[in-house]
C-alpha cells in the first residue's frame, strides 16, 4: 500500500485568510521616483532628517542590482509596476481611538482572530495592527507606558520619539545593506517601534499583525526594537494576505538592539498567501532581519515558522558583539506546491565567549523547494566562541527538493563549531505504525511532521505554538500523494 495518496490529500491546501476587505483606500499610483518618496514622507508628516535618509537610500538603491545568489527562482520584478503606499484612511493621520476606525477594518482583524478591542484581545498580548502601508491601531499602549515601555507604530515613533529612532535606525541594517533593505529604507511606510527601558521586564507579549489587502501594492514595513540594559521583551509577528493571481512584494526590515544584559525573543509565524497549487500568485517575502547583541551578556533569539509566501528569502541574523552574548535561531520552514524558501541565519561572533545555536527544520512537499543557508562566522577576536547547528530536512514526495548550505568560517583557534544535518523522507515505518493505530494517513503525516518540528515549536509562546501547529497541518494538507 502506497502512503502517497494520503500524503497528497494532506497537502491540498486551504488558505484561510485569503479574503479581501472592500475599503476605500488612499493609494499612490504605481511607480517609484524621488517624488513618490517625498509624498510618502509628507503623508506621514516626517521630519526633514527622515526624508534625507530615505532619499540617500533611494539613490544608493538605484546603483544596486537585485541579488541572484540564492537558490530561489522568479521572473524579474517590475519595480515601476508597484504602488508604494496604500492607506485605508483618507488622511494620513492614524485614528486616535478605535471609534474613529472604519468598522470594516475592525471586522477584518476580528475575522483574522486578532480583535483590536482591548477588552476582547488575547490575554497578555499587545498588538500593533498594520494594514497595507499604515498602522491601524496599537493596543495596550497606556498600560505599557506606565512602565516606560514605548510600543507604537514606526510613523508615530518618528514623530514622537525622533531622537531615539534617529539614534538607532539603520545601525543594525544599514540603508545600503542589500538591494531589498535599501529599497525598504527608501519607501518604508510603517511598522512597529518598541523601546524597553533599563531593568524592565515587559509584562505582555508585544506583537505586530501585518495584513496586505490592496492589490498591486508592496508592503515595506520597518520594525525597530531596542531593549535597554537588563530588560526583557518577547515579540511576535504574524502576517496574512488575500489570494490573488499576481505576486506581491513584501520587503521588510527588522532591527533589534540588545544592550548589556538585555534579552529579546522575536518570533514570527509567517502565513502570507503562498500562491495556488499551480504556483500562481503569492507573496514574495524578501526580508532583512538582524539583531545586534551590543552589550555584554545580552541575548537575542529568532524563532520562525514559515508556512506561507510564494518565495521566502530571509536570514534573521545576530551580530554577537558584547562579551558573553548569545544568539539563537530556531526555524520551521514548509514549502508545498510551488513554494520556494531560501532561509537560514547568520551568526557573526565578534566578542569573546559568545555563543550561538541554530536549529532548522525544513519540510518540502509537492514541488516545494526548501533551502537552509546559514553562516557561522567566528572572528579573530571572538575567543572561546561556541556554535552548535542542526539542520534537518524532511521530504514528502519525489518532486520536491531540500538543500542545505552551511558556511562555516573560523578565524579563532579557541572556537568550537559543530554542524550536523540530515535529509530523509518521512519514515514509512512511522506512517504504518500510526495508521495501524487507526490514524488516517494525513493525520499520521501531520503528527509526524509536528513531532519533527516540536523542538522549534516549543520556543514559541503557547498561544502561537497552537496556531503554528494548526498552520503546519493546514499547509501540508494533500501532501500525501
Amino acid at each position: 500500500m502506497n502512503p502517497e495518496p494520503a500524503v497528497a490529500s494532506a497537502l491540498s491546501r486551504s488558505y484561510k485568510h485569503g479574503f479581501v476587505t472592500a475599503i476605500q483606500a488612499d493609494t499612490l499610483p504605481e511607480g517609484l521616483d524621488e517624488g513618490v518618496i517625498r509624498r510618502i514622507s509628507d503623508k506621514k508628516g516626517e521630519p526633514e532628517w527622515m526624508l534625507v535618509w530615505r532619499l540617500a537610500a533611494y539613490r544608493h538603491w538605484l546603483g544596486m542590482t537585485e541579488p541572484r545568489w540564492s537558490s530561489v527562482r522568479y521572473p524579474a520584478i517590475d519595480y515601476q509596476a508597484i504602488s508604494y503606499y496604500s492607506s485605508p484612511f483618507a488622511d494620513a493621520r492614524t485614528p486616535v481611538s478605535l471609534a474613529e476606525v472604519d468598522p470594516k477594518l475592525l471586522a477584518t482583524y476580528e475575522k483574522l482572530g486578532i480583535p483590536l478591542d482591548e477588552r476582547l484581545s488575547l490575554a497578555g498580548v499587545a498588538v500593533d495592527a498594520v494594514f497595507d502601508s499604515v498602522s491601524v491601531a496599537t493596543t495596550h499602549q497606556k498600560m505599557l507606558a506606565q512602565k516606560g515601555i514605548i510600543f507604537c507604530s514606526m510613523s508615530e515613533a518618528v514623530r514622537e520619539h525622533g531622537e531615539l529612532v534617529r539614534h538607532h535606525l539603520g545601525t543594525v541594517v544599514p540603508s545600503g545593506d542589500n538591494f531589498f533593505a535599501a529599497l525598504n529604507a527608501a519607501v518604508f511606510s510603517d511598522g512597529t517601534f518598541c523601546y524597553i527601558p533599563p531593568g524592565v521586564r515587559c509584562p505582555m507579549e508585544l506583537s505586530t499583525y501585518f495584513r496586505i489587502n490592496a492589490a498591486r501594492t508592496g508592503q515595506f514595513e520597518r520594525t525597530l526594537i531596542i531593549a535597554d540594559r537588563d530588560s526583557y521583551v518577547s515579540y511576535l509577528e504574524g502576517c496574512t494576505a488575500p489570494m490573488r493571481d499576481n505576486h506581491q512584494l513584501h520587503a521588510a526590515v527588522v532591527e533589534l538592539v540588545a544592550l548589556e544584559g538585555a534579552e529579546i525573543q522575536y518570533a514570527t509565524v509567517q502565513n502570507w498567501y503562498p500562491g495556488d497549487e499551480e504556483g500562481r500568485g503569492g507573496i514574495y517575502n524578501f526580508v532583512t532581519k538582524r539583531g545586534v547583541c551590543r552589550g555584554a551578556r545580552s541575548r537575542i533569539s529568532w524563532t520562525q515558522v514559515e508556512t506561507g509566501s510564494a518565495i521566502t528569502w530571509k536570514y534573521p541574523s545576530v551580530i554577537l558583539l558584547g562579551e558573553g552574548s548569545e544568539g539563537r535561531f530556531n526555524s520551521v520552514a514548509v514549502t508545498h506546491h510551488h513554494q520556494q524558501a531560501d532561509t537560514g541565519t547568520k551568526m557573526i561572533h565578534l566578542g569573546a565567549n559568545t555563543r550561538s545555536s541554530i536549529l532548522s527544520k525544513g519540510i518540502s512537499a509537492g514541488h516545494g523547494h526548501n533551502a537552509y543557508r546559514g553562516l557561522v562566522k567566528i572572528n579573530a577576536a571572538a575567543d572561546h566562541a561556541r556554535n552548535h547547528s542542526r539542520c534537518d530536512s524532511l521530504l514528502l514526495g519525489g518532486s520536491c527538493s531540500a538543500h542545505t548550505y552551511p558556511y562555516i568560517e573560523v578565524k579563532n583557534a579557541s572556537a568550537r563549531v559543530e554542524h550536523e544535518a540530515t535529509t530523509s523522507r518521512i519514515g514509512e515505518d512511522q506512517l504504518f505504525y500510526a495508521r495501524q493505530r487507526g490514524l488516517l494517513a494525513e493525520e499520521a503525516v501531520a503528527l509526524i511532521v509536528h513531532g519533527f518540528c516540536a523542538e522549534v515549536l516549543r520556543e514559541l509562546p503557547m498561544e502561537f505554538a497552537v496556531e503554528a501547529r494548526k498552520l503546519l497541518a493546514v499547509t501540508l494538507e494533500g501532501s500525501v500523494g
Binding site: W69, I378, A380, S393, L395, L396, G397, G398, S399, C400, S401, A402, H403, T404, Y405, P406, Y407, I408, E409, V410, K411, N412, A413, S414, A415, R416, V417, E418, H419, E420, A421, T422, T423, S424, R425
Partner: protein
C-alpha cells in the same frame, strides 16, 4: 601583473605553442584547443565573486606570470628517485618531470596483460582516434578558466589503462616531479585513467618537488571506472611550501563500480583540488577520505562534488582539515541527488582543527537533494585540540608539545591510516611528519 595581463600572456603563449607543436595534431584536437582558448579568453580566471571560489585567494596564480614548461633533462639517475617511490613490490611507476613524461626514469616489472600506460603526448601522436571518446566525454568538460586553460594548452600527462586480469596488489605510481628552474613554469598535465570492467586496481598519484620551485601545476584528470571496476586511488599533493597547484579530477563510475580514494594535500602556497564524482549508473559507490593541511601562509582547498545521478548509489566522505601558522584550510563538499532517483545513501564528515591564533578554516558542506528516497547526513566541526585531553596527557608526564603532537597524530590518523598497502601508509606518515617539522 594583474589577472588580465597574465591572461594575455597565456594567449600569446598559446599561439607560440600551436605553431611549435611538433607532431601534427589531429584536426579535432586543434579545434578542441582553440575552442577552449576562446572560452578561456571570455571567461577569464575565476574570481571570489563566484560562489565556488569565494574562499580562494587566487593572486598567487592569477597575478604572476608562468612560462609553459618545456621537456627538460634534469640529470637524475633512476636511483635518485628511490626515496620518492613507493613500490617495494609488484607494480610500475611513471615519472613526469615538470609535467613531461620521462621514460628513462620510469620503470616497472613487465606490464601484465591488458595494461597499457605511458605519456599522453605519445599516445595522442600514436592513436588520436582512441582518445577521442574520453576527450569528448560530456561529463568531463571544463567549467572554469583553469580547466579551459589546461584543455587549450596541455602538453603531456599520464595515460593509464588497466585491464581486467590485473593482480589487485599490482600498484601504479604516477610521480609528478617538479624541478628548480629560472622562471616559474606553467605545468599542465592532462591525465586519463581507465579501469576496465571487473578490474581491481591500485593507483597512487604523487606530486613532489625537488628544491623550492614555485611552479604552477594546472592539472586535469579524467578517471573512468567501467562496470564492476574497483579502484583504490591515492592522490598526494606535497609540492613544497611555494607550489601552486590547481587540480581538477572528473570521475565517471559505471554500474557497481567502487572508487576508494584518498586525497591528501600538505600545504603549498595555493593548493586547490577539485574532485567531481559522477555516480552515473546503479550500484556505483564512492568512498572518499583525506586530509588538507596548511601552515605558514599556505592555502589549501578541497572542492568535492559527488553527483548521485542514478538509483542505488552510495557515497561516503571522511575528511580532516588542519590549519597552523597563518594557514588557511577550505573544505567544500557538495552532494547532489538527481530528481527521480531512488535508494540513495550519502554520508559526509569533515572535522577541522585550528592550531594557531592566525589560522583559518572555512567549511561549506552542501546537500542538494531533488529526490525523496534518500538518507543523507553531513557533519562538520571546527575547533582546537581538546584541552581536557591535552591536560590528561600532560598529567601523565608528557610535555605540552608532545601531547599536542599526539593529539594531532590521532586526529589525522583516522584518514592517514587508511592507505594500503602498509609501505604506502608508512611513507605517508613519514611525509606528514616531515611536513609538520618543516619551518
Amino acid at each position: 601583473m594583474n589577472a588580465t595581463e597574465v591572461q594575455d600572456s597565456y594567449v600569446g603563449q598559446f599561439q607560440d605553442h600551436a605553431e611549435r607543436e611538433a607532431r601534427r595534431p589531429p584536426p579535432w584536437l586543434r579545434r578542441d584547443r582553440a575552442g577552449a582558448m576562446d572560452r578561456f579568453v571570455v571567461a577569464g580566471f575565476p574570481t571570489r565573486r563566484m560562489e565556488a571560489w569565494k574562499y580562494d585567494v587566487l593572486a598567487p596564480v592569477t597575478e604572476e606570470p608562468f612560462i609553459l614548461s618545456e621537456p627538460s633533462c634534469i640529470g637524475l639517475d633512476p636511483e635518485d628517485l628511490d626515496p620518492l617511490l613507493l613500490n617495494r613490490g609488484e607494480g610500475a611507476h611513471l615519472v613526469f618531470v615538470n609535467g613531461w613524461f620521462a621514460p628513462t626514469l620510469s620503470a616497472g616489472s613487465a606490464l601484465p596483460r591488458g595494461v597499457r600506460m605511458g605519456g599522453m603526448a605519445r599516445r595522442m601522436a600514436a592513436d588520436p582516434a582512441e582518445l577521442l571518446p574520453a576527450f569528448s566525454n560530456e561529463e568531463a568538460q571544463p567549467d572554469h578558466g583553469f580547466t579551459e586553460l589546461n584543455r587549450a594548452m596541455w602538453q603531456d600527462g599520464a595515460f593509464v589503462q588497466l585491464g581486467p586480469e590485473l593482480d589487485p596488489e599490482w600498484t601504479v605510481q604516477l610521480l609528478f616531479l617538479n624541478s628548480e628552474s629560472l622562471e616559474p613554469l606553467l605545468i599542465q598535465p592532462r591525465n586519463l585513467l581507465m579501469v576496465e570492467a571487473g578490474c581491481r586496481a591500485r593507483v597512487v598519484e604523487t606530486h613532489l618537488s625537488l628544491g623550492r620551485s614555485a611552479h604552477f601545476t594546472n592539472a586535469w584528470t579524467t578517471l573512468l571506472l567501467e562496470r564492476g571496476a574497483h579502484l583504490d586511488y591515492q592522490l598526494w599533493l606535497d609540492g613544497g611550501p611555494h607550489a601552486r597547484h590547481i587540480g581538477s579530477m572528473r570521475v565517471t563510475q559505471a554500474a557497481d563500480s567502487v572508487l576508494e580514494a584518498g586525497l591528501f594535500a600538505l600545504g603549498g602556497r595555493l593548493t586547490r583540488q577539485e574532485v567531481e564524482v559522477n555516480l552515473s549508473e546503479p550500484g556505483a559507490e564512492c568512498r572518499l577520505h583525506g586530509l588538507l593541511a596548511a601552515t605558514a601562509h599556505q592555502q589549501v582547498d578541497f572542492h568535492l562534488n559527488v553527483r548521485h545521478a542514478a538509483s542505488s548509489t552510495t557515497s561516503h566522505q571522511e575528511f580532516r582539515g588542519l590549519a597552523d601558522g597563518h594557514g588557511r584550510g577550505i573544505f567544500n563538499g557538495r552532494v547532489w541527488v538527481a530528481p527521480g532517483v531512488r535508494e540513495i545513501v550519502s554520508g559526509q564528515t569533515t572535522r577541522n582543527m585550528l592550531l594557531s591564533p592566525e589560522a583559518e578554516i572555512d567549511a561549506k558542506p552542501q546537500l542538494e537533494i531533488h529526490a525523496d528516497d534518500v538518507q543523507c547526513v553531513h557533519g562538520a566541526t571546527v575547533g582546537s585540540p581538546d584541552e581536557e585531553a591535552l591536560f590528561y596527557l600532560r598529567s601523565r608526564g608528557l610535555d605540552g608539545q608532545t601531547a599536542l603532537a599526539l593529539l594531532v597524530e590521532a586526529f589525522v590518523g583516522d584518514v592517514l591510516n587508511r592507505g594500503e598497502p602498509e609501505p604506502l601508509r608508512d611513507w605517508m606518515k613519514q611525509r606528514f611528519n616531515a611536513w609538520r617539522a618543516s619551518p
